[in-house]
């Protein structure tokens, strides 16, 4: 590693008094082709409460360490080094925004490792957040409206596509464009087909350029212009996600103000459940939900199933109420993280629909 780059990387790993300093250091590292990435999570009781759990036995034994002030530097030893992860210890920076989302930033592979270990050791406390296809054009549009000179184009994407007649299947489509397409054109073409985005490669042009990738679970990486990418893509997307997260809150008997449940619905534009085989495809998809179990009482013609989420003990019931929607009835205890995880699983692996109130 050249001396200049060594200094740049060192400045990234040094402590930072503020988030702009951290982002500037990361941006410099990015310019030197150092792979910078990040992720977005939700801490159920807040970041400081989450980090205080590092003092507990299991986390302590695992070797979680954290610095004292925000942005916090989380570090932990690597159990099984891989070619991509050769270091003995990895780390990532974490801070919380005003909406309650936790941002993580650092070297791409290290951040991924830290997120994985956080979700293993603190399951139920920290949950992933997800974007929906419709969130992206909205947030990118907001960013472009704030900066007239900004142009955002899609240079590649991965999407799921629902194909087939009677027996439908999910196929993965990956495409890279020789010349990037403006995001408005890209998303209007996407609407015409039954596709939903899993990851996007974006190029930003304007006063400063940027290039990066963002995935459905809000993990991202950047190889040019981190600050520009962060402020014009990640931050607006985080705002949209945060606004939508309210939909999942306080739906169970325990949390709801009226102490009665507030059901949710996933609605599709087409009459998806007209074909009874879609019920079975949904059951097959639900059974793949990690850290959860599904009890199917009645598979067809209407579906009635119960889901128990092992990460935090949430439980809810699923009904197919008509040909174009799926009803989710929370139980006595159902957390927002669990509902969001379930909805994303259905959206990502079955078919993407609109999550909305069941009772208007």
């Amino acid at each position: 590693m050249a001396g200049g780059m060594r200094k740049t990387v060192a400045s990234l790993y040094a402590s930072h008094s503020s988030i702009p300093h951290l982002l500037a250091a990361a941006d410099r590292a990015c310019r030197h082709s150092f792979p910078i990435g990040g992720s977005l999570l939700h801490a159920r009781k807040g970041l400081s409460q989450l980090l205080s759990r590092f003092a507990e036995t299991r986390c302590k034994l695992r070797g979680f360490e954290v610095s004292h002030a925000s942005p916090y530097r989380i570090s932990l030893p690597v159990r099984n080094p891989t070619p991509k992860l050769k270091a003995k210890a990895v780390g990532a920076f974490a801070w919380e925004d005003e909406g309650g989302l936790v941002f993580l930033l650092g070297q791409t592979h290290e951040v991924r490792y830290v997120v994985h270990e956080l979700q293993s050791y603190l399951a139920g406390e920290v949950t992933a957040v997800y974007f929906r296809t419709s969130d992206i054009p909205r947030s990118l549009g907001d960013a472009c409206r704030q900066d007239d000179q900004l142009e955002i184009a899609v240079s590649g994407y991965t999407a799921s596509i629902l194909q087939g007649g009677q027996d439908r299947q999910i196929k993965t489509r990956r495409e890279w464009f020789t010349s990037p397409e403006p995001f408005q054109d890209f998303f209007s073409e996407l609407e015409d087909e039954t596709q939903w985005v899993r990851s996007l490669h974006l190029q930003l042009l304007g006063q400063a350029s940027a290039r990066g990738r963002v995935s459905r679970d809000m993990s991202f990486s950047c190889d040019m212009g981190l600050q520009v990418f962060f402020h014009n893509v990640i931050h607006p997307l985080a705002r949209v996600i945060n606004a939508r997260r309210e939909l999942f809150a306080k739906r169970s008997v325990e949390e709801s103000p009226s102490h009665t449940v507030k059901p949710l619905r996933i609605t599709y534009d087409s009459r998806l459940f007209e074909n009874v085989r879609e019920n079975h495809r949904l059951i097959h998809t639900l059974r793949k939900l990690p850290d959860a179990t599904v009890s199917v009482f009645h598979p067809n013609p209407f579906l009635h199933a119960a889901v128990t989420d092992y990460t935090d003990g949430s439980s809810f019931t699923i009904w197919i109420v008509n040909d174009s929607s799926l009803l989710i009835v929370p139980g006595t205890r159902t957390t927002s993280g669990s509902l969001e995880r379930f909805c994303n699983h259905v959206n990502e692996y079955f078919s993407e629909g609109r999550v909305e109130e069941a009772l208007e």
Binding site: R58, S120, Y121, A123, G124, E125, V253, S258, H259, T260, V261, K262, P263, R265, R271, E274, R287, D291, T293, V294, S295, V296, F297, H298, P301, F302, H304, A306, T308, Y310, T311, D312, G313, S315, T317, W319, V321, N322, D323, S324, L327, V329, G331, T332, R333, A358, L359
Partner: protein, 415 residues
Amino acid sequence: MSRLDRQRKDHETQLRNAVDNYQQTVLALKAFGNEILFDDQTRTLSPGGTAHCGRKLRTSANNRKSKEEEQKPDLVVQRSLQLATIAEAKLGFPTTPNEFEGRISQCLDQVEKYDDDLTGWYNAGGRRGTPAHDIVLLVNYEDAKRVERELRARREAGGFVVTRSFSVISIANIRRAGGVFWPELDLLGDGRLLDATKTEKLANRLPIHPEKLATNPQFGLAELYDCEPPEPLMMNLVWRGIDAILTQEQRDAVRFDGFVELTASLQEVCDLIRQRGWTFLRHDSRDVDVPDTTWVSRAIGRFVSMKWATRVEGQRESFRFTYKFRRSPYEQFVRFVAKRRAYADETARKKAERQEKASHKKGQAQKRAEAQREATRREREAKRMPLLENAIRNGTLKPRRTRKGKAAFEGPGRV
């Protein structure tokens, strides 16, 4: 497929159908109860209205069928001080004529018991009064027409007398035009309720929306009513209840150590199920306690057989559960119970076979012994007859008739 496998598959199918029937019954009771509690003018649930599952009501001394005895209808809905509805759910009638008629007679007996000045209504806040009440029979769509026809015939023949408003309401899963597809309540024939608006609504078929039922504070999440559910369903509720009380530390223990052990008594498990909202709200001591401890005890007994739980030594109703994050526990319960029943059937069949063989052998042996005795008797008789005839010819024996007219011989000694 072996005979045992076939039996196991049959039992699995029967169990799934039984679970389905049970849940349809719960859905029917909830749907009907919600509709009766719904005020069509304010478009909300009637404040002060209550729904009771298995409430103990007492018949009067004038009851035609059962004098001064306690009855427990499946559902009692008290919309106000003046108006109530009693519903009995009978989903699933036999197909054979004799059994069908027997079942109908049972239903009608129950209905006639409810046709009385019943006492034991819920009196919240000390309010007094005996409401006027309807009687409703909830049946499956498939059985509805048959049942309604039979009831009408019996009523016309005078074999079934009800003085109060009585109706048969069916619950069916009907695909409607436009793709909406959901269970509906349908009031059949010329049945009626005291509330004419409700009668009309139900006669026009009422679609049931689970999202609306779920928000009912008295039974929105109920999965049990006053009848023991099929074993896999009860086991599933117990397992989900245990999962719900795990602390985060216990979950971490399961995640990292593979399992965690926790102890709970029978009563604690019953309380757990109630706390999760899986039963109708119990308003007072006249409402039946659901689930019954025997149901839960049987379910936990199955867990012990599956080695998912053990009994705590020295404490009869205390159990130690070995909790793990299991894949599809409900499916495992169905398969386990089906397998046990198939084995029980097979054991019973083999025992019956052995007994039949044994009795067949015994019968054969008896027949052989009988035949042997008969042969011996004939042989002796055959030997005896010629000697007798010679003695008569020689004059050694003289035949005579006894006073009773029987043949006898006079002469020295036996022949």
